[in-house]
Symmetry: C2
Subunit: 385 residues, 2 copies
């Protein structure tokens, strides 16, 4: 991997060259033709697709082949619950919610409390499970009904998942896992096994269905190695290779590559949580969001700002749906007509409108959380009790 | 390890030097003093202890310390269900049943269908689980009531066991697992993880009890490496180190070291299954049991036989409880008064008496099997549902 950046399921840093990543990971860029084909089924494309924030895929064409034959399958994505949900997590989930609605597919959402426990020094399992339950509220808040969204918390689903995970594990040598994930002899045996658990939701819904179902996984591209491995193994179990849609990362407030993450130093200077109130959002954006503007108003008016590095503008790419409005912001900033403070004010308003609504739905979700939590019993083979 | 013999959880071969094994594994031989102390609680010792077929231990003294303080704990043993039960499997179970009765302790019996699936080429998981259910009949047939015996089939208990197994796994590096089990890069990631599952029943009963319970594990010594590893980790989880009692192996019919096992070539020439009928037992013993007798009756009468290598006699050490009767058989054989055919006839009668009764109880067990199968719900923390 290029030394300037690192993208693994457990570490993302540096200025990410997404074109290079596509090459290194061996994925395919989303092209106009494929998006047009998707659009036939979804109607007008989501802005995260229009703007190529979802930019890469594996076998989306094959997923559509099946879809068009009436073999509709399901969606799968997930979250490693090691803390509170932030805006960076929401991006693939928003897109997934849209696909769920437009394609009429069920979403299986995995909460990998086992993974986070195994990989994070000092994190207790019970705490990871607690985060899973809190994070689940943010998923539900995106508008799902319980029949559209089943949340699989690994430790609570182990009764159904572990017996399937060992079928993956039997076909995965340490040697292969090492090559995919960079394991050393000092990694613990749970970390080494874990990817087997992440593979399971990609085929688990086929069991109660009694037939192999196509699976589409929208995710941030750092999770791709899990499925690179799983795609080789799952067909040996009699299920189709899962298809993948890859997203870029929402950068941290201070920009400079990488992804929004609480792991990178002081979280408050990098991260906006879904539970931050309007005042906090305003303060964080004004104080920490890296600006692409010039040092003085005078200079900015004359030379213009650089939206490509301006974090406030970058966030608008993710959260402002209106293309025309966005273009005007871009052009005005470039021309020096829009000042950095004004750019930040637009973002603050956009985020606070979004988060106000999100937080209201998130609290409503709390009452209905239990309706969304999958149980091992849901995944028994047809007719078995 | 000595090149002449190999003892690992997955391979036993060669002429086993048990004294050397005690040294290499770092266990302690059972001595007179400790057995006397045990006898105070159990009454007259079981013949498998009197004859040092159970010959070695880890911390049995500490288990008795707790027992004498009224902190009574539980027993744990298990089986890797890769086929039908044979006499070699029954040995530690008979002893365990005796300890269960005499000490008034509950037995948790693990059926490691996941292990056998992961380690055995060509074995399907569903088949391993089926073997577990069949093998369970042989355990129950030893006379347990459901409140004395809880059978934990790993894949059916994963809901309770996997969340605990990852707590073990987090504290076990590949490096340590490699040293204990001889793993290579070509082992699969399930094999590497698996010992974490085998550790769990050594502390799982403490969870519903709401306090750390002492655990005593009678087993064949090839399983010791699992607990050598687990004993370092379990105290870090707040539970006591499990204590161990080690058994020698019942040899195969053809003798020559190792243990009775279906893996060693043609099973029928090495193994007596618990479901073999009287005729089959007679045929197998007469045809295959290695004899310590001389080539001709005349020579045998003159020089006498060697009971130490005579498989029929060796089996009587395991299955004939009466010390006086056994001594007479031994001495008569040594003196040439008892012929090899007669020795075999004694064994055949002993085994068929034992197996006739066992098979009757085994069929009765079939009706009540479900009463003995543990469920994840039994292991919830007190007061949690």
């Amino acid at each position: 991997m290029d030394e300037k950046f690192v993208v693994t399921p457990w570490e993302v840093k540096g200025e990410i060259d997404y074109d290079k990543l596509v090459k290194e990971f061996g994925t395919q860029k989303l092209d106009e033709k494929l998006l047009k084909r998707l659009e036939k089924h979804t109607g007008p494309l989501h802005h995260l697709l229009r703007r190529r924030i979802f930019f890469s895929h594996r076998d989306l064409d094959k997923f559509l082949d099946e879809y068009e034959k009436g073999n509709r399958g399901f969606l799968y994505t997930g979250r490693g619950p090691s803390g509170s949900t932030h805006l960076g997590h929401l991006v693939p989930w928003m897109m997934t919610r849209w696909l769920q609605q437009k394609l009429g597919l069920k979403l299986y959402f995995q909460m990998t409390d086992d993974e986070k426990y195994l990989f994070k020094e000092g994190l207790e399992l019970e705490q990871a499970t607690q985060y899973a339950l809190e994070n689940a509220l943010d998923v539900i808040a995106l508008g799902f009904e319980p029949e559209e969204l089943r949340i699989l918390i690994d430790t609570q689903m182990a009764g159904a998942m572990y017996p399937e995970a060992i079928k993956v594990a039997k076909r995965l040598t340490f040697s292969t896992a090492k090559a995919a994930f960079g394991f050393t002899n000092e990694h613990n045996v749970g970390e080494i096994f874990y990817t087997s658990m992440q593979a399971v939701p990609a085929f688990l819904p086929s069991i109660p269905a009694g037939r192999p179902l196509p699976c589409l996984i929208p995710l941030a591209i750092d999770q791709d190695p899990h499925f690179r491995v799983a795609r080789d193994i799952i067909p040996k179990l009699g299920y189709p290779k899962p298809c993948i849609l890859h997203a870029r990362f929402l950068p941290g407030l201070q920009g400079a590559g990488g992804k929004m993450s609480t792991s990178a130093g002081d979280a408050d200077t990098q991260v906006i949580f879904t539970t931050d109130n309007a005042k906090t959002v305003k303060e964080k954006v004004n104080k920490y969001a890296f600006s692409g503007g010039k040092d003085t108003v005078e200079e900015h008016r004359k030379a213009g700002g650089d939206p490509d590095v301006d974090v406030a503008y970058q966030y608008l790419l993710f959260f402002e749906e209106d293309d025309a409005k966005l273009k005007k912001i871009h052009d005005d900033y470039r021309a020096g007509k829009l000042l950095s403070g004004e750019m930040k004010a637009i973002l603050i308003e956009t985020l606070n409108r979004f988060l106000g609504e999100h937080q209201r739905k998130r609290e409503e979700a709390r009452k209905r959380l239990h309706e969304y939590l999958a149980t091992p019993d849901e995944f028994r083979p047809k007719g078995k009790h």
